[in-house]
Symmetry: C2
Subunit: 217 residues, 2 copies
Amino acid sequence: MREVFQQELADVQNGLVEVSRGVLEAIRNATQAFQTSDVSLADKVIGNDINIDEQTARIDDLTVEILLLQAPVARDLRFVVTTMRIGSSLERMGDLAAHIAQLARLRFPEFVGPEGLREKFVRAGELACAQAEKIAALLDTEEEALIDDIISSDDAIDDLHKEVLDYLTAHTDDLSGQTAQIVDATLANRYFERFSDHAVSIARRMRYLQDGAPTAE
Amino acid sequence: MREVFQQELADVQNGLVEVSRGVLEAIRNATQAFQTSDVSLADKVIGNDINIDEQTARIDDLTVEILLLQAPVARDLRFVVTTMRIGSSLERMGDLAAHIAQLARLRFPEFVGPEGLREKFVRAGELACAQAEKIAALLDTEEEALIDDIISSDDAIDDLHKEVLDYLTAHTDDLSGQTAQIVDATLANRYFERFSDHAVSIARRMRYLQDGAPTAE
């Protein structure tokens, strides 16, 4: 019985690692589709999102089954509960990558947002991809240094988020008649920021798992 | 032991009802602050959000403790797990109400967004308050008719969300030089939509609790 249980916990962990790789691929492709206005790549991200949703639903079912049949205690219970929450963050990250791809698709063949923001969005994409890479590595290796790294990256992402909003309000005259670009840039900015928020939330939950520290956000 | 357990489950449920009332007050005040540019009311919503966060964190701790000490099975387990998720949706609804209040605060004494959208945002606020009212009633009474009601309201909210975006892109000429208003309207529109998404998600989870139906979203 104990062996089955350990195997189930390992299945859950492997499932999360797999989903995090799917999220990494999604945000990489979404970012590239966004930068290069690549519609077929955007479609791929949008189409693949259902896989991420299905994978996280399966992990969710498995964790509920473990709770039901194995009644885990202490560290195992903490692991199972944390897993459910990490799964739900990964699912949202997949959704946000799909939202970014949708913006690229919607504005094709134009760039999403004002041209003056292109560089900032390249940076936002790089930061989001870096966070997703670290999350995939963290779930796989549980390396503690990655936790600090993910949490501390959030400041740069928040600064960039603010810079985009500042740019928009500072360039009101140049942006006359570019309503769609302003709307899109506002949404893309929000999606990238939320993507990183979820990465930080996962890192905090991994820390809780490692040392029982509270996960105040 | 069994009595303690039933009391703990009741505490969790009462906690959720209390939080949902806090969320209802938050969205009502946020909506009013938004419509009337009332800064002190906006401040109240922003300041109270910490209470909602603390309440949901307490419920979360309690559910983990129940899992740990009582090892519930079957319907009780389903209840505890569902509770954790409903708590997390309520927390996000509180955050979104605070975001709406922040927009009102930021733009004071101006209206948030273009004047031409005032009526649509009045409607969005009404719909959000109605969803929050029904959620508070549903968690309290578990009345099944409310579930369908909340889920079916989502269509009207999605339609309105699309109408706001359509308005923005259709009025590009009139909106020249109103970048801040376009940014704010885009964000407010997104916040109201996400608020309702969480309401629908809670309703689906309550249905799952009642009849074990899947919660595909």
